[in-house]
Every structure is written in structure tokens, then in C-alpha cells.
């Protein structure tokens, strides 16, 4: 019971990753081709049925898995690469500089990825890239805040003070003592952020501001399913279920990892 969220989260993520990997090598049908009659109920050979255009839903779901993971993971990695160093610097700095960085992160925190993506789409046209960039930028402040809070916590510990007093260069203190100690907190944040990123991307492609027209994403599939609600409501089940399971997986993983954290750091995460 104690580590069930970690186990279920890992299982769900494993399932999505496996689906994405299988999809790289094998697919029941071409996800972009019209392979069967329109709006067929689940059965054989179309396990999950066909959509309004006669595309195989199962293949499109499999193809969507890699896109969902790619966008979720890459955007969060990008946010971490920018946000973590800024947060650590802000946390270690004892001057006004740290406060300014923290204040800037506070102002930008909570600026919704979707609004940013809409701005990008208006200026540049919507694509996988604008969606990913918007989600990444919107996630940066969360990393700055959490990295700063955790760094400040770690800076108060004896061995860090000792390292500083013994003349270790600041950069080495950050690299050797701060980063390894705040890494678990950042891991929790990253996992939760991927869940949020997947939801945000789904919303964007549902609105038609995400990936291009010929790439199946779960959000876009839901948009198409919506026109068929009266004829074939089941079509709306699969893509939404996939989004929910992927998000749930990363949320649970984050929760499960949090239980393993040092109690002093748990409050921050």
C-alpha cells in the first residue's frame, strides 16, 4: 500500500513508453491512411474501430504515444535546463540579485502555457515547435521556484557551510553539494511537470494550435471525435483515456517519489 502510487505510476508510464517504442517498429495499420470503412465499431481487424475518415483508431493512438511523450519530456527537459541553474543561483546568492530572480519567477509563475502558445501561434503559426516552446517557457518559473527553495534549504546544512568556509569555489559547492542534494526534489517536480505538459499539449492540439494537420495526436483525435458524438460516441473514449492514463502515470510517479524524499525537503516539493 505504501508505495502503490510509485508502482502504479511506473506501470502506466511503462505502458505508454512500451506503446511508443512498439509503434516505432510495428503498427497494425498506417496511422495516416484511410484503411477501412468509416465509423466502424471496435472489432477485427480494427481493434478500437475506425474514425470518421476511415483511419484505424488503434494505430493512431499508438502513433500518438510517441508524440505525447516527446512533447511532454522535451518541453520539461528544456524548462529544467533553464530553470534549475537560475533557481540554484537565486538560492545561493545573498545579494539583491537572488531576490530579483525570485521575484521575476513569481511574476511569470502561473502564466498559462496555453495563453503563451496562443500568442506564439498568432505570431508564428501553430506547430509542434511553438507548442513545445510555449509549454517549456511556461514551466521554467516552477523549476526556478522549487530549485531556489530547495537550494536555500540545503545551504543551511552543516556540510555546505563547511565547504564554503574551507574556501571551496562557489561553482563547485553548487555542483558537488547543492545539486546532488536537491536532485530528488527536482525529480518530483519534473514528473509532475510532464503530467501537466501532456495535458497542456492535449488542450493545444484539441484547439488546433499544436501539431500539424497530418500528425495524429490524442488531442486532435478528440477534436475530430467531437463531430461524431451523436453517431459514434465511443471514438471519444480512447484518445481521452490515453491522455488521462499518461498524465495519471506521471502524477503518481511524482507523488510516489515524494514519499522517498528527505522530510526536510518534502515540504517544498
Amino acid at each position: 500500500m505504501k508505495h502503490s502510487s510509485l508502482a502504479v505510476g511506473g506501470l502506466l508510464i511503462g505502458l505508454i513508453v512500451a506503446t511508443a517504442v512498439v509503434g516505432l517498429f510495428w503498427m497494425p495499420f498506417d496511422p495516416n491512411a484511410l484503411v477501412g470503412p468509416r465509423l466502424q465499431a471496435p472489432g477485427w481487424p480494427h481493434v478500437l474501430g475506425t474514425d470518421a475518415f476511415g483511419g484505424d483508431i488503434a494505430s493512431r493512438i499508438i502513433d500518438g504515444a510517441k508524440r505525447c511523450l516527446l512533447i511532454g519530456v522535451v518541453s520539461v527537459l528544456g524548462a529544467g535546463v533553464v530553470g534549475i541553474p537560475v533557481g540554484v543561483v537565486a538560492g545561493m546568492s545573498r545579494s539583491w540579485f537572488g531576490d530579483v530572480l525570485a521575484r521575476a519567477a513569481d511574476i511569470l509563475y502561473g502564466f498559462p502555457a496555453l495563453l503563451l502558445a496562443i500568442l506564439f501561434a498568432a505570431a508564428l503559426g501553430g506547430s509542434t515547435w511553438t507548442a513545445m516552446a510555449a509549454i517549456a517557457i511556461a514551466t521554467v518559473p516552477a523549476f526556478v521556484r522549487i530549485a531556489r527553495a530547495a537550494t536555500m534549504q540545503v545551504m543551511g546544512l552543516g556540510f555546505v557551510e563547511a565547504a564554503q568556509l574551507s574556501g571551496t569555489p562557489t561553482f563547485q559547492v553548487a555542483l558537488r553539494h547543492v545539486l546532488p542534494n536537491i536532485a530528488p526534489v527536482l525529480g518530483v517536480q519534473a514528473s509532475v511537470s510532464v503530467g501537466l505538459a501532456i495535458l497542456a499539449e492535449a488542450g493545444l492540439s484539441y484547439l488546433g494550435l499544436g501539431s500539424g494537420q497530418d500528425e495524429p495526436t490524442w488531442g486532435r483525435m478528440l477534436r475530430e471525435a467531437q463531430d461524431q458524438l451523436f453517431n459514434a460516441p465511443l471514438i471519444a473514449l480512447w484518445p481521452g483515456l490515453a491522455i488521462a492514463l499518461a498524465t495519471l502515470g506521471f502524477n503518481l510517479l511524482g507523488d510516489g517519489l515524494r514519499d522517498f524524499l528527505d522530510p526536510r525537503l518534502r515540504e517544498i516539493a
Binding site: L115, I118, L119, L124, A202, Y206, A244, L245, L252
Partner: protein, 320 residues
């Protein structure tokens, strides 16, 4: 005096945030590569026409001048004219405010109303199955995209049961009953996800309250658990809920943009998306600035309320 000073500092902070937000929005829509005149006229446009349109839209002038003109207009309530329809932007978006405000306010209220009993129940029964079930429901609710929830509400309550309309909107001034009837499904869709999130905060703050010394004291002198929670715990739990509600407001506003699409409602969101597809940057800027300002102003108000409600913070503010 010091309370006034801290109020003054916060107002300055709010103004600074609004300024930064407006600059960022302006830069994103105006300084990113891409020629708007080209987009509007298409790739076959003659160079002369392009030049004339740039001249007409004022795209040839320096960025700073354009920003200052824009922001000076905004301060006076003039958001410019649409690049596509040539109409006044205020006139375009004002009729749509009602839909967005109704969705956001009701969605948030319903989410709060659901989250308090959910969170308190999950906290008080946290070692029993019933409490774990509620926690699990909120965990699952967090992962569900609101538009997917909306789609299922339509399938169940509009397509099969026919209890509620599948979409559309009726103004509260035209018919309050029809207004409410049309809002049931979209507001529920918005609130499900938010309630799941908020209930987790309620749960953890109630768990905290249950462990406090004064709570044990209240219990020992005969208060029931629910009674002591309501009498003494509500304020503590309410504080943390208030902060999260403020932070989540942006999410609900944006969630409403998507929910509008599910239920074919003509709010700010659908106007914004139309402007995006037309590359009508003046309208896009105006709507995004409006949404961001709403979020910043409401967070400011939440912050102030917090100060008034929590004497501990008030005292810290005075000492500073």
C-alpha cells in the same frame, strides 16, 4: 501607517507586473519574425500593396513608438481596431465577456464548493477505505482533461438522457433559467478538474489542523470533530485554499477557452481563436492582455484579503 505602506508597495508591484506582462505580450506578437502584411495579403501580393498595408497598419514605425501608442490607448480604454474587420476591438470583445465571466466564476465557485467536503472527508477518514477512495478520485480527476470530461457530459446528459443542451449560451439578461440550464454541463466540466486539485490542498490543511494542540483541546472540552473543524479549523484551511484559488484562477480562465469550444459558446476564447486563425494581432493582444490582467488583479486582491484575514501576516507586515 505601515499597513498603508505595505499596501502601497503591493500596488506598485501590481503595476510593475502589469507593465511587464504588457511588454512581453507586445513583444511576442510584434517582434517575432514573420511579416503580418504578407500573411494577411497572401504570398502573391505585390510589393506595393504590401508596403501600403504596412503603412496603414503602422508596421513601419519603430517598435517602441508602437508599444507606447498601444499602451496609451489601452489605459484610456481604447484597444485599437481589428486588422481584419476594421472594427473597434472593445466593441468586438465586450459582448463576449459575459460568457467567459459566467463560466469562470461559476466554475471556480462549484470547484470550491465541491472541494471542501471532499478534502475534509478525505482528511478525516484518511486511514479508512472511504477516505482513500475520495483521495483516489481526486487523483484521477487531476489527470482528466477538462474538455474530455465535457465531451462525456455531453454524451451522457445531452445525447442519451437529453436533460441538458449539448451547447450554446443564453444571456442571463434574456432568460436567467435558460442561462443556468445551458451552463450546467460546461461549468461542471470545468469544476471537476479544479475540485480534484483544490480538494488535495483542503485535505492536507485539514490533516494539519487535526494534529494541532488547540484542536485536541477543543475535542477534549467536548467539541465534536466536525464542530471543532468548522469553528476553529475553517479559517486555517480557508487561508491555504484562498491562495490556491487565486493561483488556479489563470488555469480556470484558460480552461474556459477550451470548454467554450466543446460547448460551442461564443466567449472570449472563441473570439481569441478566431483572431489567431486570422492573424488579427491587435485582437489577440487585447484579449490576452485582458485575461492576464484579470489574473494579476485578482491575485492582488487575494493577497490583500489574506492580509486582512490572517493576523499573523498583518503583524509581520507591520513589523517590516
Amino acid at each position: 501607517m505601515s499597513l498603508l505602506r505595505s499596501l502601497g508597495l503591493r500596488v506598485l508591484g501590481l503595476l510593475a507586473s502589469l507593465l511587464v506582462a504588457s511588454v512581453l505580450i507586445f513583444l511576442t506578437t510584434n517582434a517575432l519574425p514573420g511579416d503580418i502584411a504578407q500573411v494577411i495579403l497572401g504570398t502573391n501580393a505585390a510589393p506595393g500593396e504590401l508596403e501600403a498595408l504596412r503603412e496603414r497598419l503602422g508596421l513601419n514605425r519603430p517598435l517602441t513608438v508602437r508599444y507606447l501608442e498601444w499602451i496609451a490607448g489601452v489605459v484610456q480604454g481604447d484597444f485599437g481596431t481589428s486588422m481584419i474587420s476594421g472594427r473597434d476591438v472593445v466593441g468586438l470583445i465586450a459582448p463576449r465577456l459575459e460568457v467567459s465571466v459566467s463560466l469562470t466564476v461559476l466554475g471556480m465557485l462549484l470547484a470550491v464548493a465541491l472541494s471542501i467536503p471532499m478534502g475534509a472527508f478525505a482528511a478525516m477518514r484518511r486511514r479508512r477505505t472511504s477516505g482513500l477512495v475520495v483521495s483516489t478520485i481526486s487523483q484521477v480527476g487531476l489527470a482528466v482533461p477538462s474538455f474530455w470530461a465535457g465531451i462525456w457530459l455531453v454524451i451522457i446528459f445531452a445525447v442519451y438522457l437529453r436533460w441538458f443542451p449539448a451547447g450554446g449560451y443564453v444571456s442571463i439578461w434574456v432568460d436567467p433559467l435558460l442561462w443556468a440550464w445551458h451552463l450546467v454541463l460546461p461549468v461542471t466540466a470545468l469544476a471537476i478538474v479544479q475540485a480534484s486539485l483544490l480538494s488535495r490542498y483542503v485535505r492536507s490543511s485539514v490533516v494539519e489542523v487535526l494534529g494541532e494542540d488547540w484542536f485536541r483541546t477543543a475535542r477534549s472540552i467536548g467539541w465534536s470533530r466536525v464542530g471543532a473543524l468548522l469553528r476553529h479549523g475553517a479559517r486555517n484551511a480557508g487561508m491555504s485554499l484562498l491562495t490556491v484559488v487565486g493561483l488556479q484562477l489563470a488555469t480556470v480562465l484558460v480552461g474556459a477557452i477550451i470548454i467554450e469550444q466543446v460547448f460551442a459558446m461564443q466567449g472570449l476564447g472563441s473570439r481569441l481563436l478566431l483572431a489567431v486563425s486570422q492573424r488579427d494581432l491587435v485582437v489577440v493582444q487585447a484579449v490576452v492582455l485582458l485575461l492576464v490582467s484579470a489574473v494579476l488583479v485578482i491575485n492582488f486582491l487575494v493577497d490583500m484579503t489574506y492580509q486582512v484575514l490572517d493576523p499573523r501576516i498583518r503583524r509581520v507586515g507591520e513589523a517590516a
